[in-house]
Symmetry: C2
DNA sequence: CTGACTGCAAACCCTTTGCAGACCG
DNA sequence: CGGTCTGCAAAGGGTTTGCAGTCAG
């Protein structure tokens, strides 16, 4: 599934600007890797990006794809979904519930809300398939991480970083 | 963080019933592993379950924990969050959007909704920490999987399974 | 008793890292 | 040209699997 061509070019321009501003090199590989993610609506994995790239760039390697994608992530040009580098976690709460997730340490907590259990989902979504359940994920920085960041920044006199390859 | 003791016992009973009904053996290990997940509100990883179990059951092994947790998952007694057995996926759409996810094949699609961008989150959630963003995840079976399941069940004359260690 | 279950170790997959050569700016 | 970036190969972490012994029913 393809993203609209104009949109892709707009994203590529934003990338080139960001590259200049952040002072990292704009290599052939980086450009093609970005073009590939930006042009796909499938949320490709690193492997999928590599596969798509191989025909045009036979020498590109998987580790470069990873390095570049995480770089883009750090720059805020892409985000991740699903698995971070973490293990599977299990939940014995079988009632319909929602999650609060700390973007900093990954802490997850359940909460319930009748209101959120019955959200109105846009018409357009049914075109994808059946709708079995809807879950809300609230992201933020948990109390503990907030405290640690404040302490750290007080000690080192730097501003809290907030993001560190944690997208959840 | 602990789950209410009565709730745990209720869950354990449900587990024992399910074990009897499904005809699998109710071993000491399985019981303790289930008691551990059921008693924790932290959504523990397999490793965390093992660590918690070691003092009481020094011989239990990580692979048994995994096997049991997936068994419980297949029985619908626990669910997973975060990483399945899959790789990280990247998304170059930087606008606030939501996801439709197929529980069968993992297909993910973006959709936008101003309404869903500004959900009212229950008071109680702020006790966990700051709220930076809220995302809605709609789960269902995508058109393609629905079609394949129908075809398969027509051919083999069995009902669609729907669930196969895919919880997203 | 006997088939299902466990523990062990080895395999597996995805991702990251160290290093020497290549290339952008 | 110099420092950054790439490709390679090897390591790493989490999870799964094959097998022989063990245990619940």
């Amino acid at each position: 599934m393809k993203v609209d061509k104009n949109e892709v070019e707009r994203r590529v321009e934003r990338f080139q600007e960001a590259a200049k501003k952040a002072g990292f090199k704009l290599t052939h590989q980086r450009l093609e890797i970005f073009r590939e993610v930006a042009g796909s609506a499938d949320h490709p994995s690193a492997e999928a990006v590599l596969r798509a790239l191989k025909p045009r760039m036979p020498t590109v390697s998987l580790d470069t794809v990873y390095r570049t994608l995480w770089l883009l992530n750090d720059l805020g040009l892409v985000s991740t979904l699903g698995p971070k580098r973490e293990s599977v976690r299990f939940d014995a709460n079988t009632t319909h519930h929602h999650h609060y997730v700390c973007v900093c340490c990954g802490l997850a907590r359940d909460f319930e809300s009748a209101e959120l259990n019955s959200l109105r989902i846009p018409e357009s979504v049914v075109q994808f398939g059946s709708i079995d359940a809807t879950h809300v994920e609230v992201r933020g920085v948990c109390n503990r991480c907030a405290k640690e960041q404040t302490e750290k920044s007080e000690k080192n006199n730097i501003k809290p970083k907030g993001k560190e390859r944690n997208t959840i």
